[in-house]
């Protein structure tokens, strides 16, 4: 069933300031290339295209001129209690001690898509066809992420390969790989965001900025009441934006 919350000494988390996101898509573009997602010619079919990071457009549902919009970048929420992990029949996806990152291992995945069905955030993508790059473009593939064949499920990994690099760098410099400085490991979307709307760090480490950010009264998470206990936090000073993070009954 729904499993229990796991505690990790390191809990990597992202804090996204919606009030700063202009919806430009730089995070998505960064993610695509960092993680070797193929360029998709028919990317306008959003139900078929792969974008580990996706920017949603939020509206307050009112008419002009009271209408308001906001953009919500959505990486994998790295749930503390992931709906997708317990359902996997072959342990291709796990929530283990790795900083609380929900792993997804492609050579183990059989492509049953049960996790795709279980995830309410739509962060899981299936390889419908073998990936194809325009001639020569495979030379620009990132060496840090493997290319997935068709038929397996993939998702945002919080660029965990950058963590392994950061740990290696710490080891080489005689530092503690399990106590990285703030900023030693950040995801590509966080690094490249032109607005600085995204922050990343160890939620449990008081030396990391995000540790404080998640305590903001404006911080909230998506679908909290389902008990997914996500590690991605959003911040907005706008109440209607916060309200769109979850479902509420009229009486609430």
């Amino acid at each position: 069933m729904s499993g229990q919350k796991m505690e990790f000494p390191i809990t990597w988390g992202m804090v996204i300031d919606i009030d700063k996101c202009t919806g430009c898509g730089a995070c998505m573009a960064s993610c695509q290339t960092e993680n070797n997602v193929e360029p998709q010619r028919e990317a306008s079919n959003k139900l078929r295209s792969t974008s580990w990071m996706t920017v949603y457009e939020l509206t307050n549902g009112k008419s002009f001129p009271d209408h308001d919009i906001a953009y919500l970048p959505r990486p994998c929420q790295q749930c503390g209690n992931p709906p997708c992990v317990s359902v996997c029949p072959v342990i291709a996806t796990e929530k283990n001690e790795n900083g609380g990152i929900v792993s997804q291992v492609y050579p183990r995945c059989i492509g049953c898509r049960y996790c795709v069905a279980a995830c309410p955030y739509h962060v899981r993508y299936f390889g419908w066809f073998d990936p194809v790059w325009p001639e020569g473009m495979q030379k620009t593939l990132s060496p840090l992420t493997s290319v997935r064949p068709r038929g397996v499920v993939e998702k945002c990994t919080f660029c965990h390969h950058r963590w392994t690099l950061a740990k290696d760098a710490a080891r080489a410099n005689g530092k503690d790989p399990d106590n990285l400085d703030d900023g030693a490991y950040v995801t590509t979307c966080v690094q490249n965001c032109p607005s600085g709307a995204l922050a990343f760090g160890d939620l449990k480490n008081p030396k990391h900025k995000v540790h404080e950010l998640i305590k903001s009264p404006y911080a909230y998470r998506l679908l909290e009441r389902l008990g997914t206990d996500t590690q991605v936090y959003y911040i907005s000073r706008r109440e209607w934006v916060r309200k769109l993070g979850d479902n509420y009954l009229k009486s609430e």
């Binding site: 059989i110 492509g111 069905a117 995830c119 739509h122 066809f129």
Partner: protein, 414 residues
């Protein structure tokens, strides 16, 4: 001896069959349908599942619905086996063979579709080698494959009883021995089958982030676990009766007595009544507990035509209450009520499996997402049709050459 004459030697003792030419034409027709599906299957294997109508919103679609429906309707086999061999309702021996073949067709067909539905079929064995004991799907994989083996074991003696094959003493003996141990397999089968019917339901019930499907439950099993078992054993016997009736219609011969069919329907109806009670309780708890906890309302669960409220009404009223009345009251004595009751019951379970598979995924759980529509495409339809055609082929061959219906000779004496 011409082929046409010698072919007749293979018929069961004392029965009549249509001409070989007619039979071959029938097979050819089925073969074309199956062949079309086979091409679709190869296309899926070679190019990947992108050729289907599935997408990242609807990872599960027609195939899973088809599998679940077929497996539910195929449940007649284990349940009738249970009643015949364990509970010893002896009368059922007259229809048990049919249920075994139906079960075999349904399960092997479902397996075929499943192997298509996984993105990496070559890795399917990981389900055994690297099982995740927490996953309901692991339970399904284990139980379905094991149960398919049981069904094969149950089907083999039927083949061995074929007039010509049975002449070989060794095989004759083997068939006999297998019949002796059949209660054991019936028992194993009943156990396995109950479990995977349940875990198929459990697969949906555990999706706690999908309010449409999520259910609380008993120990590790959500209520859907038990509901799926109940709905399967309720509709399985009805499906057997429908198949039997259909075969009688097609062949123009009486295969079992109305009494047997009526008994099966009564059993199915009784189970359907139990199911109805639990399903109503479950629905009530879902509307008043599961949904509000998720911050959602009953009204939010329906949209447009394909996910409309009419499905809900159909499933819970037209296909539950009505068939219960038709199957458990004296109305059953009239074929029209009995058959339509059975049809409705089966339709109800198909709707149930559809809404759990597709509607559950179509509902926007994130408040800023919207309803999405899923339409299966030719590749999914063709392969599903292939399995149906395959079932018809197996059933046609079995009927023509195997002594399935013990009463057939007696009932058709002129």
């Amino acid at each position: 001896m011409s082929i046409i004459e010698s072919e007749k030697n293979w018929y069961p003792e004392g029965v009549e069959r249509c001409s070989l030419g007619k039979f071959l034409k029938w097979l050819a027709f089925l073969g074309i349908v199956a062949g079309y599906g086979f091409v679709a299957m190869i296309v899926c294997f070679v190019y990947g599942l992108g050729v289907t109508g599935l997408d990242n919103y609807f990872g599960f679609g027609l195939w899973i619905t088809f599998d679940l429906a077929v497996i539910a309707l195929g449940a007649g086999a284990f349940f009738t086996g249970l009643l015949r061999y364990i509970i010893r309702i002896d009368e059922l021996k007259n229809i048990i063979n049919l249920t075994v073949i139906k079960g075999f067709i349904c399960y092997s067909g479902a397996m075929l579709i499943l192997s298509l539905d996984v993105g990496q079929p070559i890795r399917s064995w990981f389900g055994y080698w690297h099982p995740n004991v927490h996953s309901m799907l692991t339970e399904v994989i284990f139980c379905i494959t094991c149960y398919l083996l049981v069904l094969i074991i149950e089907y083999v003696p039927l083949i061995l009883e074929q007039k010509q094959i049975n002449k070989i003493p060794y095989l004759h003996n083997l068939a006999h021995q297998m019949h002796v141990v059949m209660p054991l397999f019936a028992g194993i089968g009943a156990f396995l089958s109950t479990f995977h019917q349940g875990s198929l339901g459990g697969m949906y019930g555990v999706m706690f982030a999908r309010p449409y499907a999520f259910r609380d439950g008993f120990f590790i099993w959500p209520w859907t676990f038990f509901l799926f078992v109940l709905s399967a054993i309720a509709t399985g016997p009805c499906m057997t009766v429908l198949i039997c009736g259909f075969m009688e219609k097609v062949t123009g011969r009486k295969l079992t007595t109305y009494r047997i069919k009526s008994l099966m329907c009564k059993i199915g109806g009784t189970m359907l009544l139990i199911y109805t009670v639990f399903k109503y309780l479950d629905t009530w708890a879902w509307i008043n507990n599961v949904l509000p906890r998720a911050g959602m309302t009953f009204d939010q669960m329906f949209y447009g035509l394909v996910y409309g409220r009419w499905l809900f009404v159909c499933e819970l009223v037209l296909c539950l209450l009505v068939p219960v009345v038709f199957l458990l009251t004296p109305l059953r004595k009239k074929p029209v009520f009995m058959y339509s009751g059975a049809i409705l019951a089966c339709a109800g379970v198909v709707i149930n499996r559809y809404v759990f598979t597709v509607q559950a995924l179509a509902i926007p759980v994130l408040p800023f997402t919207k309803w999405e529509i899923y339409t299966p495409n030719w590749a999914e339809w063709a392969t599903s049709l292939m399995v149906i055609a395959y079932g018809f082929i197996i059933m046609s061959l079995s009927y023509r050459y195997l002594p399935i219906f013990p009463q057939e000779v007696g009932l058709n004496k002129k």
